[in-house]
């Protein structure tokens, strides 16, 4: 998600590079330094351990942060009904709210390790069930958008860098920056008004929301129906997201094109085109690869707005709904899933980076 409060990656990526982007390569330099193949497993072990620590930290935060939300869940559950002290106590016991905080915490951690994230207050169902119900929907939306904006960003970014300073470059950079500056929810609303309700002579082409028509379609017809619902939310996500990939690819390529070895290659008499394609692009893609993985994690977490606007039955909508209760177990579980997505993707980026780096002599 770019229009959320994420870091100022568009600008930063063109300059000193955003933290994670520059950091991936920097950290990855570890195994490269001549120690060869034996260093890689140790590097992997280090990264995985680091990720495990982060995940634990997220578990702790999600538990304590959301205890600060004002609101007694038991009062919410029984709101508007006459409840005696005994009944309240039964409820508290049922949800483990009668125990001291530290004990609730150890229980929570113990259960979390066995894959049990507790029971949702408002849906009266295991949190894990609610999450697994909504997760595929979110993955479908973010996955499709991710593939598209990554491809679009890399392709346009490469072209922009080749034609640096030309009209195409200025146009694409400008367009990407402009779309990146749009609030995604606003863009989504405008798309609904124009492409789904229809304006003037233009009829509505796409559904206004949801993931399926619910008309009992099966097989291929169902897939088509879902794909049809997918178009507008995906377009919204792609529009606000692709700019970042474009700019990072572009600046990485420009960076690479100034390198000495390219001058050497050119001096060897290789054609400019060939030099760029064979040498510059593959190397410049490296920072982009890192960014791609980080984006994937962030997109899962940042999809809340688009899901809200398009009534997509995914994790984002669930999170927003859970916060207003507050449905603590569900909020905690979702927060954990969001953060875990980012952590896992970051770690993957770290792990994959050395493999992609052609300079690693392996």
């Amino acid at each position: 998600m770019t229009s959320d409060a994420t870091s100022a990656s568009v600008g930063a990526s063109t300059g000193a590079a955003a933290g994670p982007v520059k950091d991936g390569p920097a950290a990855a330099r570890g195994p490269r330094g001549g120690r060869g193949a034996t260093a890689y497993p140790r590097y992997v072990a280090g990264k995985v351990a680091g990720a495990a620590v982060s995940l634990l930290a997220v578990l702790v935060t999600s538990f304590f942060l959301f205890r600060l939300i004002p609101g007694d869940p038991v009062k919410f559950m029984t709101g508007g009904r006459q409840v005696s002290a005994e009944q309240l106590a039964v409820y508290r016991e049922q949800f483990g709210l009668d125990l001291p905080l530290w004990q609730q915490f150890t229980d929570y951690c113990g259960k979390a390790l066995t894959g049990d994230l507790g029971t949702s207050y408002q849906f009266n169902a295991p949190v894990v069930d609610k999450i697994t119900e909504a997760l595929p929907n979110t993955l479908l939306l973010t996955g499709t958008a991710f593939v598209l904006y990554t491809v679009l960003g890399i392709v346009l970014g490469t072209r922009s860098a080749w034609r640096n300073g030309g009209f195409g470059d200025r146009f694409h950079t400008g367009l990407a920056l402009t779309l990146y500056s749009l609030p995604s929810f606003w863009l989504g609303l405008l798309l609904i008004v124009t492409l789904s309700v229809g304006i003037g002579p233009l009829p509505g082409l796409f559904p206004t929301g949801g993931m399926e028509s619910g008309g009992g379609e099966e097989g291929f017809a169902y897939a088509v129906d879902v794909a049809h619902h997918l178009v507008l939310p995906v377009v919204t996500l792609v529009a606000v997201e692709y700019g970042q990939t474009l700019l990072v690819t572009r600046s990485a390529l420009l960076d690479e094109m100034g390198s000495d070895y390219l001058t050497t290659a050119r001096a060897k008499g290789l054609r400019d085109d060939l030099v760029r394609r064979r040498h510059a692009v593959p190397n410049a893609l490296l920072p982009t690869v890192t960014l791609i993985f980080i984006n994937l994690g962030r997109t899962v977490a940042g999809v809340i707005l688009v899901e809200t606007v398009f009534s997509w039955p995914g994790l984002g909508g669930l999170f927003y709904q859970a916060l207003s209760v507050p449905d603590l177990p569900l909020v905690q579980g979702l927060f954990f899933v969001f953060a875990a997505a980012v952590i896992v993707m970051n770690t993957l980026a770290d792990l994959i980076y050395p493999l992609f780096d052609p300079r690693v002599g392996r």
Binding site: G80, Q82, V151, I154, G209, R278, G361
Partner: protein, 618 residues
């Protein structure tokens, strides 16, 4: 350099692969989907032309178990899938037979005998009997888990038995006038007695769900849709539509757009369509906007110095509000006409008594000299008289010497609360009284703790007003500050309580209505519940999908959230058919063109890339 070259080559191959995959994905979702859009509708039409009624909803289902569900959508689904003992007439809300065909009370008012109909079958073929009803009530009385949603209905029950399959006998502890308004879904015993924990069972795994209402629940996908099939054997007659689908639109604008496009046949909004939406839908010739008197009242509640039943003080309501003159002055400074004209833009009726005019037998209006009409000058005079005079800064000062600043609790999710809150700031600001709007997603906590001065309040009123009256009795207060009561606003007034007890024991309808009106009068004078408006139910449906539909009350009433299944059961499909929409053919044509354009564009793009690569190779 060698290595570099090889790697370069490989990476490019990979890049091309990714590109191809991306192109494929784009083609799938943009290209393929659009031209094939009519497929689902065709498929549906081929299905023996079955008529589907699609309703846009926003509220999540909390549970599909009748023992647990409390939200409006869930309980509406239960109305459609399970019979209750009695139902309410759509004409004028009087009680009509449901699962029970007749009922009578004993002379001592403590025993009620219901005759259960013999022509109602569960959808699995079993007969629905008095035994099922007795089992349902007994389970609620014995298992706290099963009493979660509707336990209050059985709290006064002594014993429930079924002497024969068609006879149900309920013995009461005390007389109770609401015995023909037991809004409890009766569930099939043979299915439900296998459930081991009623507090955990959500009734959402085994479809179709066995029921005996006008519809049978056949499919549920959380926050996506709920599908019900018509029960062809329903004793009152089969519904005219073959299927009823509740489809989720979490965003109300999306729901309205879906209606305009014909994706859905009906939109109610939550709680109703906005004035702007209603206005714009009126211009569509295929859409009818139903702007009907609602069943809700919308009030400004005043903290009466919250106390628990044991006399312990709760919360921190402003002491000045204990003075009736102050409460009345505050309400007299609320310009209800502006509220109706500007905030509701005419889609509401100015407030008077506690019960909305839609329930004509209980509706009450203040007499001319009792009425607290809008009069800011008189309000200022009352405040002066009560001893809250302005200081040098023009602010009224409390007895503690500090300027008065009331905290007004508002629902962050209700635009009307926020809008009227801004008016209150200015109206009361003119009086010299400060206002702090405290808008929360979930107001339950400060509310139940009595930590507010004023609060926006509102309830939907049932045909039997007992519940909304009961929440202002002393008996509804929490026993101790730690517990939760059923009380709405901590009101505890002896005179009101006496009247409440009298109406509950009064089995004569006219007499009872008279007592209820006296209660409303008392409530009005106290100034703890100041009804500002009765918001209309503003909803809309497509006349090319639905030819006719029953509103409740029949003359001018709402469609969504009725007491009963009348609307969906009675809805008649229009000739032009199912959810297919008029504009679909043009939509499809343009869609095909747009999709084709995208595919061609992508093709050209990929071809260009190819050629560039080929150039490179030469």
């Amino acid at each position: 350099m060698e290595t570099n070259d090889q790697h370069g080559g490989r990476t490019r191959g990979r890049a091309r692969l990714v590109l191809a995959a991306g192109a494929a994905a784009l083609t799938l979702c943009a290209g393929l989907a659009t031209p094939l859009n009519p497929a689902p509708q065709e498929a549906r039409a081929a299905d023996d032309d079955s008529k589907v009624l699609t309703v846009a909803v926003a509220q999540s289902v909390d549970s599909l178990s009748p023992f647990l569900a409390v939200r409006l959508l869930s309980t509406s689904i239960h109305r459609l899938t399970y019979e209750y003992l009695t139902n309410y007439d759509p004409e004028d809300n009087h009680v009509v037979p449901g699962l029970a065909t007749a009922w009578k009370s004993s002379p001592d008012k403590l025993t009620w005998t219901y005759t259960i109909r013999s022509d109602s079958k569960w959808s699995d073929g079993e007969q629905a009997t008095a035994e099922d009803a007795a089992w349902t009530f007994n389970t609620m009385m014995s298992d706290p888990g099963a009493a979660t949603a509707n336990g209050s209905f059985v709290a006064n029950f002594e014993k429930v038995t079924a002497p024969s399959p068609t006879e149900l006998v309920i013995k009461l502890k005390k007389p109770q006038a609401t015995m023909t308004a037991l809004d409890v879904p009766i569930v099939p015993r043979h299915v439900w007695e296998k459930v081991d924990d009623y507090a955990k069972f959500n009734n959402d795994k085994d479809f179709p769900i066995v029921g005996n209402g006008p519809f049978v629940l056949t499919e549920y996908k959380a926050d996506s849709h709920v599908r019900l099939k018509a029960n062809k054997d329903f004793w009152r007659g089969a519904p005219k539509f073959d299927e009823l689908v509740f489809r989720y639109y979490k965003d109300q604008d999306a729901a309205v757009s879906a209606l305009r496009k014909g994706e859905v046949s009906f939109v109610a909004g939550s709680p109703s369509l906005t004035p702007a939406q209603a206005e714009s839908l009126k211009n569509d010739k295929n859409i009818r906007v139903n702007d009907a008197p609602g069943r809700r009242f919308y009030a400004l509640a005043t903290n009466p110095g919250a106390k628990a039943k044991n006399g312990e003080k709760m919360g921190d309501g402003h002491p000045s509000l204990l003075d009736q003159r102050v409460r009345n002055a505050l309400f007299m400074a609320v310009d209800r006409k502006t509220v109706i004209d500007k905030v509701f833009q005419g889609h509401a009726v100015e407030g008077a008594g506690y019960i909305p005019p839609r329930f004509s037998q209980y509706f009450w209006e203040p007499s001319a000299d009792q009425e607290l009409a809008y009069d800011p000058a008189e309000a200022a005079r009352l405040l002066d008289e009560a001893g809250y005079e302005k200081n040098g800064d023009g602010k009224r000062v409390g007895k503690d010497g500090k300027p008065i600043d009331y905290r007004v609790l508002c629902h962050a999710t209700d635009p009307n609360d926020k809008a009227i809150g801004q008016y209150l700031e200015e109206w009361w600001g003119d009086l010299g009284i400060g206002v702090t709007l405290n808008c929360l997603d979930n107001v339950t906590d400060p509310w139940l703790a009595g930590e507010y001065d004023l609060a926006f309040d509102g309830w939907s009123v049932n045909p039997d007003p007992d519940f909304v009256l009961s929440i202002h009795t002393c008996a509804a207060l929490p026993a101790t500050p730690e517990e939760t009561g059923a009380t709405d606003n901590f009101i505890c007034d002896k005179k009101y309580d006496e009247l409440y007890a009298r109406q509950l024991a009064e089995y004569d309808a006219a007499e009872r209505a008279d007592i209820v009106k006296q209660m409303e009068s008392r409530l009005y004078d106290l100034g703890y519940m100041n009804v500002m408006a009765y918001p209309n139910a503003v909803e809309a449906y497509r006349t090319d999908h639905i030819e006719s539909i029953t509103t409740m009350p029949a003359k001018a009433g709402n469609i969504y959230g009725q007491d009963g299944y009348w609307s969906w059961w009675s809805a008649v499909p229009a000739d032009s058919g199912d959810s297919g929409d008029g504009s679909s053919s043009t939509g499809v044509v343009v869609g095909i063109v747009a999709g084709a354009a995208v595919v061609v564009g992508l093709g050209v793009f990929v071809a260009m890339r190819r050629r560039a690569t080929a150039d490179d190779r030469e």
